[in-house]
Symmetry: C2
Subunit: 246 residues, 2 copies
């Protein structure tokens, strides 16, 4: 197995960082790796905002619902959907952009944002840095828009902490790989048995970490997915001019 695959198979988050800065050279390499990732029709409708200012990171930690690692890690990168960038090209060509109003456009941009986020994580981890992806910025997207001065047709989709690791964390188990990979056609026949086994595995994992508040995967999903977890996403996206249902 090569180093890159070994690194990816060892993926895990880190929530404890030293106060050592991430050098400009390291950060440039990470961002350059993400910049070269593909986007649908080469639209390049994803942008990054790098926040290193400590007061601004402390504010993002609050916006995300109180996540101290955002204030602690020296770099926080917000991954944006940026249909403002593409609009400039479309208007230069004498056309009017419509795609940003559609759920298809939002979904495609979200895929491309995910590729970008994944590349940032892998590149940072290849340098020995720690990372933790942050969905919690969607808890209050308007506050992120205000802080980052985001114009219409942009949306702060997901974030990432990057820093030098103070205390590393173990890798969280996954559902059996048979629940991830299907061959030729979809077959959910093994899903329930895999989930039952995984619920036990996750409880052992919490015990090993000394986490007495741990619950099963199924219970956690039940608590969260029974509702629209971050209800501000849709109305704020609409206010930004996105997703008007075409």
């Amino acid at each position: 197995m090569n180093d890159t695959i070994e690194l990816m198979q060892a993926h895990h988050s880190c929530r404890s960082y030293t106060n050592e800065a991430v050098s400009d050279a390291m950060l440039d390499e990470i961002i350059h790796a993400a910049w070269r990732g593909p986007t649908s029709i080469n639209a390049q409708e994803v942008s990054l905002i790098v926040v290193r200012d400590a007061a601004r990171r402390a504010r993002i930690a609050e916006i995300a619902g109180g996540q101290p690692w955002i204030a602690q890690a020296p770099v926080f990168i917000t991954v944006l959907i940026d249909f403002n960038k593409t609009r400039i090209g479309v208007e230069k060509a004498g056309q009017t952009q419509v795609i940003h109003e559609s759920m298809e456009g939002f979904g495609v941009a979200a895929v491309d944002a995910g590729i970008t986020l994944g590349n940032l994580m892998t590149a940072a981890r290849s340098q020995g840095l720690g990372i933790v992806p942050i969905g919690g910025i969607r808890r209050n997207p308007q506050a992120m828009i205000d802080l980052l001065e985001l114009p219409p047709l942009t949306f702060p989709l997901v974030g990432l902490c990057i820093g030098h690791i103070a205390a590393d964390a173990p890798q969280k188990p996954r559902l059996d790989i048979s629940s991830f990979r299907h061959d030729e056609r979809y077959d959910a026949g093994g899903y329930r048995a895999a989930i039952d086994s995984y619920d036990e595995t996750i409880m052992k994992y919490w015990q090993q970490l000394g986490r007495s508040d741990g619950i099963t995967w199924s219970e956690n999903l039940g608590n969260i997915l029974k509702q629209v977890y971050f209800p501000e996403v849709r109305p704020v996206a609409a206010k930004q001019g996105l997703l008007n249902d075409k």
Copy 2:
């Protein structure tokens, strides 16, 4: 610069494959790397369907609008949103899943699908294989649902060809990195100049490839983004029980 970052910075697609099979061992390593990627709240709401059967790949090549490299490359992986998997866990916990009806749920799953796709691409390329991501399966998502036997609460979002490279392709230029990276706050002040420069760069790139049909980035975006490009995405997603606008 380490090998992983060098690999990622050299990302490019390949549309010409030999007929050599991708070994089970190589494919297992690639899929294992993607399986370990993160998902929002560890929901693991992404699944893969590996298609190696030649007749089925030929059918996908048609569905995607006539893309011969899908029939040529020995492996085609479809990345699915899979809220059917999470539903089983949520119901086990005695709850009713709602998130799949929301645009927030679809968007988060699309981000996680993008991370998965990116990991598949990087892992395959680290083995010396070629890849090309395929959005064209969204041209006719119902045909993919029928072919892959996808149940409600799942959606075929994006695909990937993997194979041994017959003829490699050069790396396509990108908009200047200043249009991708912002520091502390969004600043589109340089976008138009970067786009003007890039339109010229892309035309030189087409000339170098001998492609007399090449058009600028702006013209290409104008042609595509003036409309909802794959209009079947939204109605078919709704038919699958997704995105009913909560």
